[in-house]
């Protein structure tokens, strides 16, 4: 049971942040990890695995480094005093690759008999260790972030017109961008620190949402949350049923989601792109 609840929250948080970032960055190819939160969290977890060998420090370290990565991306993006979208994306790409290199480094120095497998499994994503106390701890940032994004969801429509037009429409783009980024980061970092890196959900679930309800974020944001939640529960059950030992989630999400996405693409003719 805790596993199902956690699965729903993680799936929903990843999908809703992905949808929000796609709107904010005006780019359908962006996912919840665009500002480096996943690679940052991955490095945080790997570091904690090497140093502490315990669960609690992994959560804290993953969450901390996930947030730090986004902050760094944001600071790089602010070089020109404003934060144009293209600079944010560039900042995110730089920070992501630096943390990916750091992850490789921790793998390189890890003890190959026990630490290295833990790191590798963590990076592939799993809900196997879920307990009720995890829901309490990681649930708070996920809940805050998710509720924040649901509250501001119509503003994401306006932000997707681009900085200049959004500002002339009467929106303080700086403040609104910050709110979206903080909320999406809280939700994603909360999700990643308990579940490891689960790809695909934050990129493709929002698109499945677009095919079903259209592009208006008033509908798309809540729809993405519920689709992400259902999808991850489904995949998590599959991962336990298919073989005797569990298949890591990061592998299955892509294996299950890929064909389903292609099927939907054919059914709905792509939603107007």
């Amino acid at each position: 049971m805790p596993r199902a609840i956690l699965g729903a929250m993680v799936g929903g948080s990843l999908a809703i942040s992905g949808a929000a970032f796609q709107g904010l960055f005006r780019n359908p190819l962006v996912s919840s990890g665009i500002l480096g939160v996943t690679s940052g969290a991955g490095f945080g977890a790997a570091l904690a695995i090497i140093l502490f060998h315990a669960t609690a420090p992994i959560y804290i370290s993953a969450f901390f480094f996930g947030g730090l990565a986004v902050l760094l991306s944001f600071l790089i993006g602010r070089i020109y005093h404003t934060t144009p979208i293209i600079m944010l994306v560039l900042g995110g790409t730089i920070v992501s690759s630096v943390f990916s290199a750091l992850i490789s480094f921790t793998k390189y120095v890890a003890d190959p008999t026990n630490e290295l497998p833990s790191i590798v499994f963590w990076l592939m994503g799993s809900l196997a260790s879920a307990r009720y106390q995890d829901i309490l701890v990681a649930g708070i940032p996920m809940l805050i972030g998710t509720l924040g994004l649901i509250t501001i969801r119509w503003r994401i429509n306006v932000l997707s017109m681009g900085d200049k037009e959004a500002q002339t429409l009467g929106i303080d783009t700086r403040v609104n961008k910050c709110i979206v980024i903080v909320c999406a980061t809280l939700a994603t970092a909360g999700a990643v620190c308990v579940s490891g890196i689960i790809g695909w959900v934050g990129l493709v679930i929002p698109h499945i949402g677009r095919m079903l309800v259209g592009n208006d974020n008033r509908l798309l944001i809540p729809t993405s949350f519920s689709l992400g939640a259902c999808f991850l529960i489904l995949v998590d059950n599959l991962s336990r049923i298919i073989t005797g030992s569990e298949i890591p989630l990061g592998i299955l999400t892509a294996l299950v989601g890929g064909p389903f996405f292609v099927y939907l693409l054919k059914r709905t003719k792509g939603g107007g792109w």
């Binding site: 005006r26 997707s160 017109m161 037009e165 500002q167 002339t168 009467g170 709110i179 677009r210 259209g214």
Partner: protein
């Protein structure tokens, strides 16, 4: 009191001055044209009026209020913007796009209400595209898309609309459709328009339609003059600003109506020297 009053403004990026000591006014029910060569600072000036840039000096008053440091939502209730070309991203419906014109009136956590939807329908009807309301705006033609942008500006319920070359990239007919729409708007609602354009004939078009029209020519970060299209868009002025030989023609449609147009004849070849002494090169 003028609707928009720009007083001695200065603006520049780093070391480069873009606007130097520019002053002008736009009155109620008037269309004000900015003309000038590429890179003379037209768009920058419009951005200043929209409150997007921080001035280096001078003041801009909208309805008597200095816009310096005012919240975007307050500015957006006074002045709306129609972009030159809107970069389409997600396939929103036309209604969704025009609804965004209501953002200045809706709180950060709010969503548009039924009343906002009524305003959207009214704006779409005003520009004559109510039948497109449920279409995806990514599938519209360029001209229809620009009408959507004008409807969005109307939904902001402002007394001034700033337009940056609103007919760029449009075909022969749609350029005229946009101009006719703007003429009707100014005539029927008493809106004021501040428009940057590359075509002197746009200004003549409004003057031919008996709309209060003023024109200014911009060059090298400064304003040359402001006045009616007939006063300003003379053959001599066009020659000095654009280096173009042009002729202004007046044609009588009937006893009551006459139209005035300017036709470009040739570029001034004599003035096409590169700005440095040619005989220092390739000598020998």
């Amino acid at each position: 009191m003028p609707l928009l009053e720009v007083k001695h403004i200065f603006f520049g990026y780093d070391q480069r001055d873009v606007l130097q000591d520019i002053s002008f006014q736009v009155n109620q029910g008037e269309i004000f044209f900015l003309l000038g060569p590429n890179g003379c600072g037209k768009t920058t000036l419009l951005d200043c009026v929209l409150g997007l840039l921080r001035l280096k000096g001078g003041e801009i008053y909208l309805n008597g209020t200095n816009i310096n440091g005012i919240k975007p939502s307050i500015i957006a209730r006074q002045v709306a913007y129609v972009p030159q070309s809107h970069e389409k991203t997600f396939p929103y419906s036309v209604t969704d796009i025009v609804l965004m014109g209501r953002a200045a009136y809706i709180g950060i956590a709010g969503s548009p209400s039924g009343e906002d939807l009524d305003i959207v329908d009214e704006a779409l009807a005003t520009v004559g595209i109510l039948h497109l309301r449920n279409r995806r705006y990514t599938q519209l033609s360029g001209g229809e898309g620009q009408l959507v942008m004008i409807a969005r500006a109307l939904a902001q319920k402002t007394s001034l609309i700033v337009m940056d070359e609103p007919t760029a990239h449009l075909d022969y007919r749609h350029e005229l459709v946009i101009m006719e729409t703007i003429v009707e708007l100014v005539r029927e609602t008493g809106l004021s328009i501040l428009m940057a354009t590359h075509f002197p004939n746009h200004a003549f078009y409004f003057e031919n339609n008996d709309i209060a029209t003023r024109v200014t020519l911009m060059n090298d970060s400064r304003f040359m003059t402001a006045g009616s299209a007939t006063e300003i868009l003379t053959e001599a002025n066009l020659k000095s600003i654009y280096n173009v030989n042009a002729q202004v023609f007046t044609h009588h449609l009937d006893t009551h109506h006459q139209i005035r147009q300017v036709v470009a004849i040739s570029t001034s070849k004599l003035n096409r020297n590169p700005g440095y002494p040619i005989d220092t090169m390739g000598r020998g």
